[in-house]
C-alpha cells in the first residue's frame, strides 16, 4: 500500500509535520516496514503530543473496530482497539452494560484508553481503566502478536497499560463491563465555597457516591467557589432503551482566537456557576450530559482558535492538596490568564496497574487554558515548581511541554518501562522526555 503524507492533530491542536499515515483496519495485517518510526493514532483526543510523531508513520486505528466476543452473563467483552467508547456504548447500554471507567469524552478508542490508563469520575471507587482490562493483543513490529494478561507476558501487560502506545500496536482489548439498569444517573450538585470545602465535601461524599468531581470557577477573585457534582447509576429496573452516539451540533470552523479570551471565559464560568448554584440539588440525568457534557458539541476545541488549548493536569499527595490548589490557582490568577474548565478530584487508593499510570492516591487538578504561546508556557513552568515541590506528577495525555526531568520525577518506574518499548515505536512526547531517541 502506498503511504501518504498527512497532517494529524491532537485535541489541543498540536500537529505533525512530515508524517505518513497507514490506515490499519484488519487485525491480521502487519505493520508497515521501512516507513520510519511508528506510532498508533486513534481519535486524536490526547491534548498534547503523546499521540503525534513527526517524520514517521502513524497507524490510523479507527477502522480496527470489530467486536470479537461478548459474554452476556459476565459482561466481559473482547473488541478491537479502534472501537470507540461511543460505539461500545451503542452496543452495551441497550443490553444493560456500561464502561467500567469513562474519561470525559466518549470519542476515544479503547486502545487509547488503555495506552493512557485513563481515569474517570469513579476513580475513588473503581481505579483506572486498566483495572478492568483482563487481556489484550499486541502487534509488535517484528510481526509477532503477543497476548498479554496479568498471568501471560505480564511485564508487557503492565508496561502497555499507560504505556503511551510505545510498546506496540494494541490490536484488541478484553474488558469487564459494569452492569447498569438504564441510561440514567441520579445527580446531586452542591455549592462549594472556600478552598477547604473542595476537600471536605469530597471526602465526606465520596463514601456515598460512585461518581464525583468538583468544578472550580477559576476566574472568580477571592474565596474559591465551585460546584461538587456527584452521581450514582439509577437502580430502578428500566426497559432497555436505545442509545445513539451521534453528535447533533458541531463547530465547523476554527473560531478566531478572541472567542475564548479571558473575558468570555470568565463570563461563561460565572454563568455556569450561577445557573447551577441555585437549582434543586437532585436530578435524574442521562449518562451523556453527566459523563460527556462537552461531547454535545463536536470539535469544541475549535472554539480555542488556531493556537489551540493547553491542558495542564497534575496530581499531588492528599496532604499537599489544599496547598497545591491554592498556590496554583493564585499563580493562574496572577498571570491574568484563565482556565475554562477547571476540575478537582480526589483519587482513591486502588493501585493503577501500569508502570507509567498517572493516577495515584491524592488530589488531581486540571486546568485548561487558551494557548497564548510564551505567556502560557511561562505560567506552566511556574505551576511545575508548585507541583514538584509537593511531590506531584504531571499527566502525559494532556502534555506537550514537560521536560525529561519533569517526566522522570513524575514516573519513577520509567527506567523499568524502557525495556518494553518496541524498537520501531516512538512519539514526539517520547523523544522529548527521553523514552526513545
Amino acid at each position: 500500500m502506498t503511504l501518504h503524507t498527512k497532517t494529524l492533530y491532537s485535541w489541543g491542536r498540536r500537529k505533525t509535520s512530515g508524517s505518513k499515515v497507514f490506515p490499519l483496519s484488519w487485525r491480521g495485517d502487519l505493520l508497515p516496514s521501512g516507513a520510519g518510526k511508528l506510532l498508533p493514532y486513534g481519535m486524536g483526543r490526547s491534548y498534547g503530543d503523546s499521540c503525534l510523531l513527526d517524520d514517521g508513520c502513524q497507524i490510523e486505528t479507527v477502522g480496527l473496530d470489530h467486536l470479537i466476543a461478548f459474554d452476556a452473563a459476565s459482561g466481559v467483552i473482547r473488541c478491537e482497539a479502534g472501537c470507540t467508547i461511543a460505539s461500545l456504548l451503542e452496543f452495551a447500554v441497550p443490553r444493560g452494560w456500561f464502561v467500567p471507567v469513562s474519561p470525559g469524552t466518549k470519542f476515544v478508542t479503547l486502545g487509547g484508553c488503555l495506552a493512557n490508563d485513563v481515569h474517570g469520575k469513579n476513580h475513588h471507587t473503581a481505579g483506572t481503566f486498566g483495572c478492568f482490562v483482563t487481556r489484550f493483543g499486541l502487534r509488535r513490529s517484528d510481526g509477532l502478536e503477543m497476548e498479554c494478561s496479568p498471568g501471560e507476558n505480564s511485564g508487557l501487560f503492565h508496561a502497555t497499560i499507560g504505556g503511551l502506545g510505545l510498546t506496540g500496536l494494541i490490536l484488541w482489548v478484553e474488558l469487564k463491563l459494569k452492569r447498569i439498569f438504564g441510561p440514567f444517573i441520579r445527580q446531586r450538585m452542591q455549592k462549594l465555597k472556600g478552598l477547604d470545602s473542595f476537600f471536605e465535601v469530597a471526602r465526606r461524599e465520596d463514601n456515598n457516591v460512585e461518581y464525583s468531581v468538583a468544578w472550580l470557577d477559576a476566574g472568580h477573585a477571592g474565596d474559591p467557589r465551585g460546584l461538587f457534582i456527584a452521581g450514582n447509576h439509577c437502580s430502578e429496573e428500566m426497559k432497555p432503551s436505545p442509545y445513539s452516539a451521534d453528535t447533533r451540533l458541531s463547530l465547523p470552523v476554527v473560531l478566531p482566537d478572541f472567542a475564548m479570551g479571558t473575558w468570555s471565559i470568565n463570563l461563561m464560568n460565572t454563568a455556569f456557576y450561577q445557573a447551577n448554584a441555585h437549582r434543586s440539588a437532585d436530578r435524574t440525568v442521562h449518562i451523556d450530559p453527566f459523563f460527556y457534557p462537552l461531547d454535545a458539541v463536536g470539535h469544541w476545541n475549535r472554539a480555542y482558535g488556531k493556537k489551540g488549548l493547553a491542558q495542564y493536569q497534575f496530581v499531588v499527595p492528599m496532604e499537599y492538596g489544599p496547598e497545591a490548589l491554592s498556590e496554583t490557582l493564585g499563580k493562574v490568577q496572577a498571570s491574568r490568564q484563565t482556565s475554562f474548565l477547571t476540575v478537582v478530584k480526589l483519587f482513591g487508593s486502588v493501585p493503577s496497574p501500569g508502570l507509567l499510570s498517572f493516577p495515584r492516591p491524592g488530589v488531581t487538578v486540571c486546568f485548561d487554558f487558551p494557548f497564548l504561546g510564551e505567556r502560557t508556557l511561562k505560567l506552566l513552568d511556574d505551576l511545575d515548581r508548585t507541583v514538584f515541590s509537593c511531590g506531584g506528577a504531571l499527566y502525559p495525555a494532556k502534555d506537550f511541554r514537560m521536560s525529561r526531568e519533569s517526566f522522570e520525577r513524575s514516573f519513577p518506574r520509567h527506567q523499568e518501562f524502557k525495556q518494553y518499548i518496541d524498537p520501531a515505536f516512538s512519539s514526539n512526547f517520547a523523544q522529548r522526555t527521553g523514552l526513545t531517541t
Binding site: 483496519s25 467486536l67 466476543a69
Partner: protein, 244 residues
Amino acid sequence: MKSILVLGATSAIAVSFCRKLASSGASFFLLGRNQERLRVVAEDLLVRGALSVETRVVVPGDFSSLRAGMTEGLPSGGIPDLFLAAQGLLPLHEECEKDPFLLGEVFQVNAVEVMQATLLAAAEFERQGHGDCVIIGSVAGDRGRRGNYVYGAAKASLETFCDGLRQRLEPACRVLLVKPGPVDTPMTAHLAKGVLFTTPEKVARDIMAALGRDSGVLYTPFYWRWVMGLIRLLPARIVKRLRA
C-alpha cells in the same frame, strides 16, 4: 428476521449496513476476497446479534467462483430478502491513464462482477417473488470528471443497468442504487479528507431509511441530489473547461 446476501462484505459500507440489521437477528451470507477478513466481520455480526453468518471467498476475475458463491448464498427455495453489492475499487487515476490495462480491473470489480452477481440474484428474486437489490454506485458516475473519470465511467454503467433491471423486477422486487458522496473508508485512505466526506455509518443509516421509503436512487448525504442535479444540467461547453 431478514436474510441478507452481500458481495464485497468487508467493505466499510457493507459492514456498517450489516451491523444495523444484525441486532434485529438477521442472517447473513457474506462474499468477499479475503477469508480472514470475512471471519472478522462474521464474528462482529454474531456478537451484535446476527442469527447466523456464513462466508465464502470469491476469487476476483473468476466468474465460476462468483457464480458458485452466489449460488450457495441463493439456495433455491429462495431464502435471501436482500442482496447488497458493495464491492468497489478506487484506483489512482493517473496510473489508469498511464496504463489502460488497469481499466479492465476497475470495470471488473466496480461494474462487471456487480452486474453479474445482481443478475444471479435477480433471477432468484424473480422466482421467489420478492427480494430487494441494493447496489452501491457513486456520485462520481453522474458526470465525468478530470480527476476520476475511469472510476466514474464504471460507476455510471451501474445506473443504466439499474434503470433496466428496475423495469424488469418491480413492483415485486426493488432495485436501489445508492450514490454516496466521498466516504471516509479504507478505499479513500489516499485522498485528502475535506468537509464533504461522510462516514460509512451515515451511508448505512440512509440506506436503511431509503429501504423503508421505496426510493429508486439514493444520494447520501441528501444534498448530493441537488449538487449533482445542477452539475448534470451544466452544458457540455462549460463542463469541458472544468479541470477539477
